[in-house]
Amino acid sequence: MWDYTDKVKEHFLNPRNVGDIPDADAVGEVGSLACGDALKLFIKLDDNKERIVDAKFQTFGCGSAIASSSALTEMIKGKTLDEALGVTNQEIADFLGGLPEEKMHCSVMGQEALEVAIAKYRGGPLPVHHDHGHDQEQEGEIVCKCFGLTDGFLKKVIAQNRLHTAEQVTHFTKAGGACGGCIPKIKELIAEVLGEQKQDAPKKPEKLTNLRKMQLIQEVLENEIRPQLWTDGGDLELIDIAGTVVQIAFRKACAGCASSGYTAKFVEQKLRDLVSDDITVEEVAQ
């Protein structure tokens, strides 16, 4: 049985804002019966067409899909359209006190429906998402045929949620969860996103305060190094920073891995390249 939070259960048992708005300003529909979940979102704006005064939903799906839809409608009421567009799937999950990772696609579906609704209201091309039917033009190439998901959509979810394995992408979007034929392509997309993130990574700064240096070390570990280890099923934890000595402990596949000494050197080189030349990395057992 899923370990749902009380908030998820409560929103599933007593969903808020079920129904429709006959004179809605915006309607967004995502998913389908065949996919196993679907959400239809109705939005009503105030007279100045600025703020969302009402939101209603209809959902076909599991408990967390219904709870996520309920949470979404509660979260966007009172927001301007731009504010609503800023709602991320993580925020929907957080509102519910978290979702099991396998169920994160429910929160993504909520965010998607919202984007579709607003894009339709504003006109112009639909965001790169699911197959929306054939009435409107869509960008991107379909990567997952089973669930009709485009590369643009997958890359966006990968980047936003810092996903680093194909399995996570399945949990967040369902892509890869049926025939699995798209998994190699998903791995390519993850590598692409990681590559793009690397390019925007900060170049080594000139002079650093101690505090800034420590922050930078943490950032590089989080954004550059750990995602690389993750792709091989490994991980590390930062234990301490004492002056120029960075102490780390290897986790998961890296722990006890015969080449962890090599990995430690790699970490050191990265930190020297991106933070400061005098850093040394020490592996500690913890």
Partner: protein
């Protein structure tokens, strides 16, 4: 909240009498049956008795029973044994609707050079015997076809399958985990070479199973080591569990008739009433011969996990053939193989009864389920159309 347990195909309650039977063999009569002293010897006698009880339920000879740790072990043992016995035969036949204990193994074996044929089923979950006849050839080492399906309860015509298999000299194995104790079996007049059963589906504890191995059928053990089970399955006997399985089989034999009268009657009533009250529903495998205790029912435009969670709120335990409960994202492989329409493939629920099920419990489901389906259809963008 008192549970209403209708998920007996997943696992079942240990019968109190079974528990009493096994209880002394933990703290008091803990001897090793292989020992030379009286203390182990008395356990050996109980194990012999258990073996006879299991054999009696199957209509088999006690020497044909090998105790294992579970149904999965029995299945794996049988299939791997056949492949070792026939090193020159590289073909396996099974069905698309098998339990993962068989299906996953077979699919893994394709990576080791074996050819695997997965037989199709029709919309009611039935096999096409002609397809089997065409598939089995001189290269076929083993045919593994389940006796009854765990999700739908559909029973396969095992003896007809066996006839076809025997014509080509292949071995015939059946995963009978769901059938044993629910329908009468008689190995003495059967074509089955090997049969897997599991204790916890028939009111014995988890962690005990058995493999029926017909006398004279060549065999290679899966677990090697000591001489236990006549060197057919090494490892110290799980004495208490074996004794429990024996008792459970004895009781199952005594309640076979009840399973096929009272239990079946409750299942039929549940099915009939739900189909009458709830529109746009269908029985998966309704057109086929089925186990007396199982019903798989699909509701259009709603999703199975949501139904289960709401049932669970009322204390009702069922299971679904749907994706979301298992973490997989597709409807179950069984329902897909049957081509259940996509409008309801995600909304299938399985109730599996036992001799401990009561009429009151069935009444509770008939009372609680219709409003749950109605409610979910009100929430569903597709279901609303239906309610209009």
């Amino acid at each position: 909240m008192k549970e209403i347990y209708l998920d007996n195909n997943a696992t079942s309650k240990v019968d109190d009498a079974v528990f009493e039977e096994m209880r002394p063999y933990f703290c008091n009569l803990y001897g090793n049956p292989s020992s030379m002293h009286f203390f182990g010897g008395q356990v050996q006698k109980k194990i012999d008795e258990a073996r006879s009880r299991v054999a009696a339920l199957l209509g088999a000879d006690p020497a044909e029973i090998i105790f294992t740790a579970c149904g999965t072990e029995s299945d794996n043992t049988a299939i791997r044994s056949a492949l070792e016995v026939f090193p020159n035969r590289r073909h396996i036949i099974t069905t698309r609707v098998e339990h993962p204990a068989v299906l996953t193994l077979c699919r893994n074996l394709t990576k080791h050079g074996y050819r695997v044929t997965e037989l199709n089923v029709d919309g009611a979950g039935r096999l096409d015997l002609e397809e089997l006849r065409k598939a089995v050839d001189e290269d076929t080492a083993i045919v593994s076809v389940m006796y009854a399906n765990n999700e739908t309860g559909v029973v396969f015509p095992i003896e007809e399958v066996g006839q076809i298999v025997k014509e080509k000299g292949a071995l015939f194995h059946t995963d009978a985990v769901q059938a044993v104790g629910k329908i009468p079996l008689n190995m003495a007049a059967s074509t089955i070479d090997m049969l897997a059963l599991s204790g916890h589906k028939l009111h014995a504890p988890k962690g005990i199973g058995a493999l029926y191995l017909r006398k004279g059928v060549p065999f290679r053990p899966f677990m090697v080591g000591g001489h236990q089970e006549k060197s057919r399955r090494a490892g110290t006997e799980a004495t208490a569990s074996i004794i429990a399985l024996g008792k459970a089989c004895e009781l199952a034999g005594q309640s076979l008739e009840e399973e096929n009268t009272r239990v079946k009657g409750m299942r039929d009533r549940l099915e009939r009433e739900l189909m009458t009250i709830i529109p746009a529903a269908r029985i998966n495998g309704g057109g086929a011969e089925r186990l007396p205790n199982t019903v798989s029912i699909a509701f259009e435009f709603v999703e199975g996990e949501a139904i289960l969670l709401l049932l669970s709120e009322k204390g009702i335990c069922a299971s679904s053939g749907s994706a979301c409960t298992s973490g997989s994202l597709e409807p179950s492989h069984v329902l897909r193989a049957m081509g259940v329409p996509f409008t309801c493939a995600h909304g299938s629920i399985r109730f599996s009864l036992s001799r401990f099920t009561t009429d009151d419990e069935i009444d509770a489901v008939i009372r609680e389920l219709p409003p749950i389906i109605h409610r979910l259809r009100e929430i569903s963008p597709f279901g609303r159309e239906l309610l209009k």
